[in-house]
């Protein structure tokens, strides 16, 4: 092992018994190695608490070193930017004991992650000129490309309510959301879709109706407008007109495109 690999191994070792042994053999000043070890953990904790603010509050992550250490070991950062670390966190939590007790944690983590991604995602707004395709082209030939910052999360947990309970700017609304979340968590879980979008700079979280969700999943799967409309034709509550107006206002669409014939 090279000198640098050796040093990294000492810093990332999370087995206290073998660490003491390895440290002794290395000849390095243990105080120095421990500074690097503590800094790694502190950086990782800070990064996760910024990227996953809901999880951080749900778990009081200041003291949850085990979780952070476990994640560091299983999915070490490899981007050189702590903000890009966490793609696997939702999955990691899902495989952890903690998710058995608090089943909503993985989806809360997924929501935090998508909001974080949207926050730093490319600035995109609708290409208005492409809107004309709705009149000039056949729906079979039209694709609607969604804004890059739009994410759809399927869940059975009240993750939108839990998010609001922690982050809504209005205290009264936070309280209300907390109550709604509690009620939902103690009743029969309901499958639904939560959408992250970014109208301006602040990402927004919306709970979709089943028809909206189906329609948007169809667009995301690059199906044509005609096909996507067909998938929701059996719903009474879906209106393409209303969806389109809202989608433009919420910045959900990047452009309309004529698919190659």
């Amino acid at each position: 092992m090279t000198q640098q690999q050796h040093l990294l191994a000492l810093i990332w070792n999370n087995d206290s018994k073998s660490l003491a042994n390895e440290l002794e053999k290395s000849g390095f000043d243990a105080r120095g190695i421990n500074i690097y070890r503590r800094n790694l953990l502190a950086n990782a904790q800070r990064a996760l608490s910024i990227t996953f603010p809901t999880i951080s509050q749900l778990l009081d992550s200041d003291v949850n070193e085990n979780l952070v250490q476990g994640f560091l070991k299983q999915c070490p950062p490899n981007q050189g930017d702590w903000a890009q670390w966490g793609d696997e966190f939702s999955h990691f939590i899902a495989t952890n004991k903690i998710a058995h007790e608090y089943s909503y944690l993985p989806d809360c983590a997924a929501l935090d992650w998508h909001i974080h991604k949207a926050l730093n995602g490319q600035d995109q707004t609708l290409d208005y000129t492409s809107l004309a395709l709705l009149a000039s082209a056949e729906p079979e030939d039209i694709n609607i490309t969604l804004n890059n910052n739009v994410a759809l999360i399927k869940t059975t947990s009240p993750i939108n309510e839990i998010f609001d309970a922690h982050h809504h700017p209005d205290q009264q609304q936070r309280k209300m959301a907390m109550e709604q979340a509690k009620v939902a968590l103690n009743t029969k879980p309901k499958k639904h879709t939560v959408m992250v979008s970014r109208p301006e700079f602040q990402p927004k979280v919306t709970t979709l109706t089943d028809s909206e969700a189906e329609f948007m999943f169809s667009l995301k799967a690059k199906k044509s407008l005609a096909e996507s409309l067909d998938t929701v034709s059996h719903y009474d509550d879906f209106s393409f007109e209303e969806w389109l107006v809202a989608a433009i206002e919420q910045n959900l669409i990047l452009h309309f495109k004529e698919n190659s014939l």
Binding site: R31, I33, P76, G80, N120
Partner: protein, 289 residues
Amino acid sequence: MSVESKDVLIGVGLRHPHFTDVLTQPKQVDFVEVHSENFFGEGGAALSVLNQVREKYPISLHSTSMGLGSEQDIPRHYLDRLANLARSIDPFLMSEHACFTWGQQQGQLIHSGDLLPITHTNASLDRMCEQVDKVQSILGRQLIIENVSAYIKFDQSYLSEAEFLAELSRRTDSKILLDINNIAVNSMNFEGGNIKQSVNDYINILPINSVAQIHLAGCTAALPGELVVDDHARPVSDQVWQGYEQALQRFGPIPTLIEWDNDLPEWSILIGEANKARHIANTLFDRKI
């Protein structure tokens, strides 16, 4: 943006809690410095803030993750993001640390998220020269490379860090970023703590025209028996101010930056530290204040 002045340019490290201050308060420093990686996103509010700051202040991009001394090659994805940022921000300076960050664990690429110390030997110098050449050619810009606080010593090192940086600068046509507090931290931890002497020894090894920026910071005192940690959490200490004066005497009017990262004070206090640096420089170079 280019900066031309015969006065010493004084800047501060710009951190997130000061975003509103920097854009709404009157201009009080000559430039600001940000950590490159904090703006690696493709868009969003942070980048928008930086683009607005850029209209008001020259920007220095200080990177923390490049790991120029890594045995592992710097991944292309990292360099591409940095190059993109440099293209859009057009900084007047770009800097990094003389440390390593990249490595492997179980065959997987990992990033240490820390400025890890390197040995100072001819082999490690060759390696860093190779990477600096590569990065400079990708960026099309000169790099300024900083001395670091190190918390362990390597028996293998036979060059001093100052000798290492002097030679690196000569061979790669890069410049040196002299962090006075890092010299002070290493002095307290490993050299008996005569900071004045340590700074003196250090700067005398560096060629006069090799230093392109100076960093000043303060850190929390160590508990008895523990090492001092460079936490950038305190005002600049008297000994570091003294070291700053020594450095200015040797290198002339070099752009100077106040770094403060943890337990961040109000903007006005940070500006106060910058004014202190300006006062020292102006007094030394006998310019009207």
